[in-house]
Amino acid sequence: MNQWEVYVNDVKELAEDAEIELTIRTLNPGIHKYTYKRVRAQLSADLKKHADQLQVRLGRGQLSNSRFSIKVLGEVQRMPAKYL
């Protein structure tokens, strides 16, 4: 199970059961904790639906009470190839 975190201005941005793009950071322990990825994912308020868990922070870093389970479908590469 992986732990992820997302920043949003409003929890309504997190549509359930649809494929959405998100910038998420890993909360897994270790030296890479808090590094980001851009991903395609599916969310559910049912915490058992997907294996990974997602917690939510709001605009100024406040931890939201909303929690989701998340399935990461794949990574989205926004960065132009010349920098890779």
């Binding site: 910038t23 030296i31 980001y36 100024r60 870093g61 960065m79 132009p80």
Partner: protein, 482 residues
């Protein structure tokens, strides 16, 4: 006492004078180190030198490097007990001298080259990048550092302290404001041409190099550092671009600023004492090479409520640079002071009020200068008011500033996105508003009949009565006054 030439010499001097403590027990890079630095700032306690960091054997942290005037004095090679006006006079004297050009040293004489990571080895997570405040948008690589760039046409070098957040192992994003030197170079040149801008971030600088990187002085920072230190700063060529970086720095990151790609940055605890600026897509840095000293020390400034370097050092250099500017224009200023608790938002200017409108002239120069975006209040008092004594300044403000005639407001000027009082739209577009508080008696008032007399012990009693009372004070039954 010579000014410390490196972060290591500075730590040693601070430990020796009791202005830093060695923390031997393991400290977590996630929140704990940040919390120690924050508490040290709020208590004006010695700077924490954290020698053992979880997950990062061999690395250490030095926090709150210049968040007290004592450490500022040590950084200048002065007696730690020097007063603020003494430190200020020394800063002005040194920075009014001849520029001291840097010297280029060989790679083998540059400690920052002791370890070099290139290609697939480049991973910022190999450095102990701290999570400074819980809830921050990321771990911040650059909180007390210099971003080194060179103007593509003029060739002049810029060292600026612009915060940098780690986005992933090779990418950082940072708040480079459009009115900063780097912001101007990016917007004038690189972004319209779609060219990437070479940069190097130097972390763990000598304290005077760091002071220069966040001083709003027109002198290029390598020369300014040399002037402050009284000797040339040692630079060395980068591995992957033609920039030069301080050879004695602890850690160097080399790379390019992407003109066509941005990632999210923030939120972050800021110098105003709040998290104000929103998470946004900001200037994005791609790291191509990391070099660092053996047993490298990462420096941490933890911004929040007063007082940390964001307020103390910036108030110091903004105030003194404004004083130099006003004097260069022939204005009879007697001093300029920013109280750190104003989070460098209020300039207090003492002046001999010899002609009408002098307060507005001062305000317009101050707000119209390169320093202007960083503060929004100018309070002008006369030369008899002690600008360092808030009680006196506050008394002058509350009694001499005419609510209709003495407050002058300027709208739609330049501000910072960090102003807590600004509207979300103003923050997004760096729009500011400014105010001058004129606390001078108008020069067209009759000085005998119109100007009120200050009623104080010092001002209304004859000298001989004052001396008698002072001489008899304890005889009257009062304890001695310190």
């Amino acid at each position: 006492m010579a000014a410390p030439r490196s972060n290591r010499e500075f730590i040693e001097a601070c430990v020796k004078s009791g202005d830093a403590v060695r923390i031997k027990q393991e400290v977590d890079w996630e929140n704990e180190a940040g919390a120690i630095v924050r508490r040290a700032c709020e208590l004006a306690a010695p700077a924490p030198f954290m020698e053992k960091i979880k997950d990062y054997p061999g690395f250490s942290y030095f926090g709150a490097p210049l968040s007290t005037y004592r450490r500022m004095a040590i950084s200048m090679g002065m007696d730690p007990a020097s007063s603020l006006p003494e430190i200020g006079r020394e800063y002005v004297k040194r920075t009014n001298g001849e520029p001291v050009a840097p010297v280029l040293v060989d790679r083998k004489d540059a400690p920052c080259k002791e370890n070099i990571l290139k290609g697939a080895d480049v991973d910022l997570c190999r450095l102990p990048v701290p999570l400074v405040h819980d809830g921050d948008g990321g771990r911040y690589v650059g909180t007390w550092h210099a971003v080194v760039t060179k103007h593509p046409v003029r060739g002049d070098v810029n060292w600026g302290m612009y915060r940098q957040m780690m986005w992933d192992g090779r990418t950082m994003s940072g708040a480079v404001f459009p009115f900063s030197d780097l912001g101007k170079a990016l917007n004038d040149y690189y972004l319209p041409r779609g060219e990437s801008c070479p940069f190097a971030t130097a972390i763990g600088l000598s304290p005077l190099a760091a002071m220069a990187a966040c001083a709003p002085s027109p002198i290029p920072e390598p020369e300014l550092t040399g002037m402050l230190a009284g000797e040339a700063v040692r630079l060395v060529k980068c591995e992957t671009n033609d920039l030069e970086v301080p050879a004695d720095a602890e850690i160097i990151l080399e790379g390019e600023i992407c003109p066509d790609y941005k990632v999210e940055e923030g939120p972050f605890g800021e110098y105003t004492g709040y998290r104000t600026s929103p998470r946004d897509f900001r200037v994005t840095f791609r790291v191509n090479c990391i070099t660092y000293r053996n047993n490298a020390t990462m420096t941490i400034s933890n911004m929040g409520v007063p007082q940390d370097e964001g307020q103390l050092l910036r108030s110091f250099s903004l105030g003194l640079e404004l004083e130099k500017l006003l004097k260069s224009q022939g204005i009879p200023v007697t001093g300029v002071y920013m109280h750190p608790r104003s989070t460098h938002h209020m300039m207090i200017v003492g002046v001999k009020p010899t002609y009408s409108g002098i307060a507005q002239q001062i305000g317009q120069l101050a707000f119209g200068s390169k320093l202007g975006p960083w503060f929004h209040m100018v309070m002008v008092v006369d030369d008899k008011t002690d600008i360092y004594n808030w009680d006196e300044v506050y008394h002058a403000f509350c009694t001499r500033c005419h609510p209709a005639n003495g407050i002058h407001i300027y709208r739609n000027s330049t501000g910072t996105p960090l102003y807590p009082f600004a509207t979300p739209h103003e923050r997004k577009h760096s729009i500011g508003s400014k105010v001058v508080f004129d606390c001078l008696w108008p020069v067209d008032w009759d000085p005998i009949n119109d100007v009120p007399t200050v009623v104080s012990f010092k001002n209304v009693y004859p000298k001989d009565v004052q001396e008698k009372v002072l001489g008899n004070w304890t005889a009257y039954g009062y304890p001695p006054v310190k």
